[in-house]
Subunit: 338 residues, 2 copies
């Protein structure tokens, strides 16, 4: 496939219908020309999206499609909606029917990406607690998508990317007190390798520069404040370098996110959740994209939650959804051009 051939469209899952997902999909379609977005289609929700658009004061036209291949021709004049999944629009009112719709939309959108009918998958925000009630056993959408595309959970790596910064946390949803014992040479080496390869294939960076954070203040100051840098992180960096990866560190995290430091790397590898998420959200709050690296398919997501409290009120910012769509489109073009 050539980069300038008619692109396959992106599949977009609705997220929880009571959250801000539907209204942001509608807004992204309305702004498709000014934002130069690649063609995409929603998986289900034709009525729901129309209602969400109306509540937000948007002029949205939807058109149902039976095949993803129909989307590109329709996209200029209507938001294509795949299939007949749908539900009522009750913003802020999460319930079981909404959770079932969110899950069905996610399952179908993922399947279309895995089958190659969609160029990639952009997932709307779900409510994990609501999905758990109906038996969804994965910690989050990332793990679901990894399983659906045949990748072990530990090889699917979450990257957060905004206009100012790309960052990857090595550990995510665990107590801070558990972080030191979860960090291993193997974890850092293997995940950093996934990151380096994905930056080459999907982000067009021939020689990606990985800046790897220390765990402790000032990266431990040569062992005076913690030994994880010496015993775990530095050996992993040495092994990455031996394999030809441009990895540096362990860097003191507090200065690694300054404007000048950010010019010296393509991705910051953080040791724990807040070490990655604090700078990303401080710098790029309404434009952060959550990308899953290491998958055979492309998957991005806006880096925010359902925001039930503001759903339907017209104030949710579409920046991250637009950025997630644009990034997925760019990643798909790069893979197609290889």
């Amino acid at each position: 496939m050539f980069a300038d051939a008619p692109a396959r469209p992106l599949a977009v899952s609705l997220g929880d219908p009571a959250g801000i997902g539907p209204e942001l999909i509608a807004e992204a379609w309305v702004r498709r020309n000014q934002e130069r977005l690649p063609p995409f289609f929603a998986v289900g929700g034709a009525e729901l999206l129309a209602a969400a658009a109306k509540a937000r004061g948007l002029e949205l036209t939807t058109r149902r499609i039976a095949e993803p291949a129909e989307a590109a021709g329709i996209f200029a004049t209507a938001l294509p909606v795949f299939g007949f999944l749908d539900g009522d629009y009750r913003p802020g009112m999460a319930d079981e029917a909404g959770a079932r719709l969110a899950l069905a939309s996610l399952e179908t959108a993922t399947a279309l990406a895995v089958q190659g009918e969609a160029a990639g998958l952009v997932t709307g925000p779900i409510a994990k607690a609501e999905l758990a009630k109906i038996g969804f056993a994965h910690p989050g959408q990332t793990e679901f998508v990894a399983a659906a595309s045949g990748v072990a959970a530990q090889d699917a790596v979450m990257m957060l990317a905004g206009p100012s910064l790309r960052t990857v946390p090595m550990t995510v949803h665990c107590a801070l007190s558990e972080v030191p014992q979860r960090l291993t040479f193997e974890l850092i080496f293997r995940r950093s390798m996934v990151v380096a390869r994905a930056l080459q294939t999907d982000f067009g960076i021939a020689h990606p520069r990985l800046a790897i954070c220390g765990l402790n203040p000032h990266a431990g100051e040569a062992g005076r404040m913690g030994r994880e840098e010496i015993e775990i992180i530095a050996p992993a960096i040495a092994a990455l370098r031996a394999d030809g990866i441009d990895a540096t560190g362990p860097h003191p995290a507090d200065s690694l996110f300054s404007p000048r430091a950010r010019e010296t790397y393509d991705v910051a590898i953080a040791m724990y959740h807040d070490q990655a998420l604090v700078p990303l959200k401080a710098l790029d709050f309404d434009a952060g994209v959550n990308v899953t690296l290491g998958l055979p398919i492309i998957r991005t997501s806006p880096d925010h939650g359902t925001a039930f409290a503001i759903a339907g009120k017209g104030v949710a910012d579409a920046g991250a959804t637009i950025a997630a769509l644009r990034m997925a489109g760019e990643m798909a073009s790069r893979r197609a051009a290889r």
Copy 2:
């Protein structure tokens, strides 16, 4: 003393003479009018400052003074230098003579502030490892200044302040694995009280709003990822509120530093070093000020180190030194006006 009476000057310690401290003092004096800086004097270093200014291409005039009270009248035409302490200017070449000069300058500047002859103290960056070699037993300047002004180390609280953010870490220089056990109700309550009072007396905020971070990702998600929020942090917040302090939280740290969230508080109370320092340096790298709260004297410092590698090369940014001088002057005016 009235706020518009002739101000007592600020005392400025040189920091390590091989670091970027001297050239930044010189630059701050050169920019005194455009930056509207309060009168200040350096403690020692008349020859050294002249050499540092020359290397940086600055036109600096110095004049020795024997009493701080002489500084205000001289400041418009020359940088006042108190006393005869001095040394050779060898940027990047830290040595014992330099450490002794840095310590003597710090001791004298602190004494002048404690005696009330200076309106406040602004400290240049020191090299802790060099000072330790000559017997300096304090972990840093903050603890030295606390001891010299008769305050217990645990009641001298470091705040980092920039144009975008004020933040106070509850624990500082310890391994990340030690943070959970160091956090106590008493620590958070007592230090937050110091912060609240100092924002009232020194920063002119009648009802300071304290946003208190959780320790764990998403502030622990109701105990699913760590229990420190439930067992330690929330009770401390409740006690602060019972004492009339506008304290909120525990907040998930990752969203607390976004632009919108930052408008909702006057200071973010962080649980550990990088939780405070990462957002501060990401947002305000060349303008961060380190302020010691809870002291009878005023003490600020630029929030950067000696930067030996770039000393004498004319590239170090004077923004943080200028901000530290301006903040100390403003704090002194507020105390004087009470």
